[in-house]
């Protein structure tokens, strides 16, 4: 059994830049094996929902096409999806600090395929987080028109791509193994300023103005729109577009610099 056994034609480059199902499966398993990730991304949003969304005097009040419990469930699903996708994207930082990214450069895996896997795994974890929070909601009194269940869930999930991009951007920017300990407080602040925990209407005008500029505000407005029945304001839409552009642009910029070293 030596190298001479392989014929020349077998010395080929794999398709799709090395992207494959085994890689995706192992990456996903790795993510789910990390207890801290699972607690923060999947368990915590559910706990918050059960604490603040259920059994309250306001839980059954109307919030448009559903009740307040459902409104809070959507907020918490968005919170969980944000933590999941940011964490998934930020795995780049962990892998860079452990020298894994460098090791991967000694394989046929292209940088593009690598990032695609990171984003895909981040989105799968985000999807799991949304599904678990929605299941908890359905079992504990959240009510919405049936189409609103589907539309809001999809909006939360797809919208969390913004934060997958944020995670990748930060993953390239922060060369740290403890990247989520740095990002965690920042994400909590984004969630707070975005109105995920406390309605912004209860805040002062100055606070609201600042909040409207932060990355979670627009997405929060957009994902609740199908439930409340109010169209999201143009500030919200511009907010989402702006931050998506910033995070994707930042991720592409850092990614480009990283691969240029090759």
């Amino acid at each position: 059994m030596t190298t001479a056994d392989l014929t020349a034609t077998e010395r080929s480059v794999p398709p799709l830049g090395g992207f494959n199902a085994t890689l995706l499966r192992l990456e996903l398993r790795r993510m789910l094996r990390n207890r801290r990730t699972v607690v923060f991304s999947v368990v915590m949003p559910v706990v918050f929902f059960l604490l603040f969304g259920t059994g309250r005097s306001y839980s059954d009040e109307s919030a448009g096409h559903g009740n307040v419990a459902a409104f809070i469930m959507v907020s918490m699903a968005l919170y969980g999806a944000m933590l999941s996708t940011t964490g998934g994207g930020a795995m780049v930082a962990v892998e860079r600090s452990q020298g894994w990214s460098r090791q991967l450069r000694l394989t046929p895996l292209t940088s593009t395929a690598y990032i695609a896997v990171k984003v895909l795994v981040a989105m799968l974890l985000g999807g799991l987080s949304v599904a678990v929070t929605y299941t908890a909601g359905a079992l504990t009194g959240a009510q919405m028109d049936s189409s609103v269940w589907v539309v809001t869930a999809l909006a939360v999930w797809v919208g969390s791509l913004v934060f997958a991009a944020f995670g990748v951007f930060m993953g390239y920017l922060l060369p740290s193994e403890n990247v989520m300990q740095i990002l965690g407080p920042g994400l909590a602040l984004f969630a707070f300023l975005g109105g995920l925990f406390v309605p912004l209407e209860q805040m002062s005008a100055t606070f609201r103005t600042i909040a409207h500029l932060t990355p979670m505000y627009g997405l929060n407005e957009v994902v609740h729109a199908p439930l409340t029945g109010d169209a999201p304001g143009w500030t919200a839409v511009v907010n989402v577009a702006f931050w998506l552009a910033v995070f994707v642009g930042g991720a592409v910029w850092r990614f480009g610099r990283d691969t240029a070293r090759v």
């Binding site: 020349a8 077998e10 010395r11 460098r102 070293r261």
Partner: protein
């Protein structure tokens, strides 16, 4: 186990022997003001086991990185089996065992290998490389729980997956204990016996001597010697005798058999020689030398003398 090997060009079809495994042409690389590699030319033929020997900071790792396509030379050209390094890597022609890092702590040994295998178009079976690297018994262990030596064997197993023509090892035994080092080299040696080209960087003369057919001595970013282990070893063996001897007769000292270099520093004289006994006898019998000290000339000194010779020529 000897075997005739056909060297193949990856573009298809068997080709005549003669495409070098590595071809470095006037390679230079600087990092800011630091000139890490200052013009390296080197050709390694298929089947050779070559040690890249030099002290820390000699430019070994930078050269290895350029061979692997991990960094790009400022000037010069790298060819691995006739291809650009990146092309050779993507085809699994070259694989490497790096010094540290490059492993995910939260995967098991076997998962790491399955993941790595999934990235290549063709690989040896995971079970086979586990066996050959001697880590079949710890296949289910988490990488984070493996010892340094076990992690190094895992890196070796990963490098075996694509069944590369060329295996590059960068200071592979750093941080290993003596036993681990011996076992690791036994595995590498067994592999090289099958005909694979092996190039390893090391700063241990003993490793180069014991495991390489050819030793390339690197210092200050240049190749300062290139030959068999025995040839290079003779260059770096010898001792230095230091003595207090005012007004030393330098030509007389230089005439002593085996003396390579005589240096006068004030009242002290330093004599480098392959045979320190003769020097001591001369100093004690024929001169007023006192405070004699004999030190083994380290690799470091040899590099310095070789480099300064190189600079003069």
């Amino acid at each position: 186990m000897t075997q005739t090997r056909t060297v193949r060009r990856p573009s298809g079809g068997a080709v005549a022997e003669g495409v070098p495994a590595i071809e470095l042409d006037g390679l230079t690389k600087s990092f800011g003001a630091v000139r890490a590699v200052r013009g390296i030319d080197l050709t390694v033929q298929p089947g050779e086991v070559v040690a890249f020997l030099g002290p820390n900071g000699a430019g070994k790792t930078t050269t290895v990185d350029m061979v692997l396509g991990l960094c790009r030379p400022d000037e010069g050209r790298v060819r691995v089996h006739g291809l650009e390094p990146g092309q050779a890597v993507r085809r699994g022609l070259v694989a490497a065992v790096m010094q540290t890092g490059g492993l995910l702590k939260d995967l098991s040994v076997e998962e790491t290998l399955r993941l790595t295998a999934s990235l290549f178009a063709d690989t040896r079976p995971v079970a086979e490389v586990l066996e050959r690297a001697g880590i079949a018994d710890i296949a289910d262990r988490r990488v984070g729980k493996c010892s340094g030596g076990q992690q190094q064997r895992l890196r070796f197993a990963m490098a075996l997956l694509p069944d590369p023509e060329l295996l590059v090892l960068d200071e592979p035994t750093t941080g290993m204990d003596v036993g681990g080092r011996r076992d690791f080299w036994a595995a590498i040696r067994e592999d090289a016996a099958r005909g694979r080209t092996v190039v390893f960087a090391t700063h241990y003369l003993e490793e180069a001597d014991a495991y390489a057919d050819r030793v390339v001595l690197v210092s200050h970013g240049r190749v300062v010697a290139d030959g068999t282990a025995a040839q290079v070893k003779s260059l770096v063996s010898g001792r230095t005798v230091r003595a207090t001897l005012p007004g030393a007769d330098v030509p007389a000292l230089q005439a002593i058999p085996g003396v390579e270099d005589v240096e006068v520093r004030g009242d002290s004289v330093l004599v480098s020689s392959r045979d320190s006994d003769v020097v001591l006898r001369h100093l004690l019998n024929h001169t007023a030398a006192r405070d004699l000290e004999v030190t083994a000339r380290g690799l470091e000194d040899a590099f310095i003398s070789l480099t300064s010779e190189g600079a003069q020529s």
